[in-house]
Symmetry: C2
Subunit: 211 residues, 2 copies
């Protein structure tokens, strides 16, 4: 058991190191030697966990789709807000998130691996469908379409902020995005009760300092 | 005069060729020889117009920010819609637009050249400021913030559609994005009069077939 736990730990360590290298150098620029160096492992130990750079990248993309920390709320749409805010808190702090975003806009990596976007659209669409069943959304809402708009707009905000910083953090920008979109999603009585304060992500998804 | 016109034409030809190469190969992968080959010019002729690959890329980014075809409307917010819809029509048809987007998410190109995003945010913000002065927007609207949300969300929609196509074209997705955002921007009386039909881009910005 102890050795299994150690194994799981070094696998996670390797994945985090790979994510930080993909984030910094892109897919083609990432080398196994830089990854193992950052993980403090030998190449042999690395290949015990992952057969290739491609396998590492696939695991990074899988791990990036997470709603960790998001718990059931009275209003389903609050869970939607929480997913968006938790991710905004994570992106600058968790290399896995930054790596998934960089790989998604890297044409070589895209062709080889696809992106985490279809899975994100699915997650968001499911929440919207449940919110609609509960009568929280405007009646004309089309969950797959709105799910796509939300996910795409979220992605655009984070990419632009990376290149055109303006002194505010991603959590403020995502809160602003939600404030722009939610009036087209929620019925007024629900809208008034949604908490989109920028600090919400930190409360939901407490992660370590920026790495 | 005839020779000047010919010069301007071959400069434009070269710029379009460069854009298509940047779009297809990214900044680092783009070679001057491929660009001159596509333009049907000699390297000598190319260097007469542009001193370097970097100069070509900068000109592509400058040319990408365009409101060509957008004409004054009774409602300033209709001009905002028109800018977004014209660009959605252009992106799949004009290599300059696709190249600017690819260069913006290419980290090497970004560091070297910046992106066209600050200029787009400025353009959109100015339109919003004028719309606000005319009383077309909700009173609490913050033009720079909403301008950023609009531009970022537009960008996200186009990037995601590139990787996760779903049978609809960018013009449909941008129309849907506008339908989601405008209720947070326009006063109801203006909102009801805005035309966000997906075909609007083609009427504003008639360009050739997809190249």
């Amino acid at each position: 058991m102890a050795s299994q736990t150690r194994g799981a730990r070094s696998r996670q360590h390797l994945l985090d190191a790979a994510a930080s290298v993909f984030r910094d150098y892109g897919y083609e620029g990432a080398s196994i030697s830089e990854i193992t160096k950052r993980a403090g492992l030998t190449k042999g130990a690395a290949y015990f966990h992952f057969s290739s750079k491609e396998a590492l990248a696939r695991s990074v993309l899988e791990e990036a789709v997470t709603t960790d920390g998001v718990v059931p709320q009275t209003l389903k749409l609050q869970e939607l807000v929480d997913i968006a805010m938790a991710l905004a808190h994570r992106l600058p702090r968790e290399p896995v998130q930054a790596a998934a975003l960089r790989l998604a806009v890297d044409s070589t990596a895209c062709r080889l691996l696809g992106t985490a976007w279809p899975e994100w659209i699915r997650v968001v669409t499911e929440v919207l469908e449940e919110a609609k069943r509960r009568g929280e959304t405007l009646p004309h809402l089309d969950p797959p379409q709105t799910g796509r708009v939300l996910m795409s707009a979220w992605t655009g905000m984070s990419l632009v902020l990376d290149e055109v910083p303006n002194g505010e953090d991603l959590e403020h920008h995502i809160a602003s995005l939600l404030d722009h979109l939610l009036p087209s999603i929620a019925v007024p009585a629900v809208l008034a009760r949604l908490d989109t304060a920028p600090g919400r992500g930190a409360r939901i998804a407490p992660v370590g300092p920026v790495s």
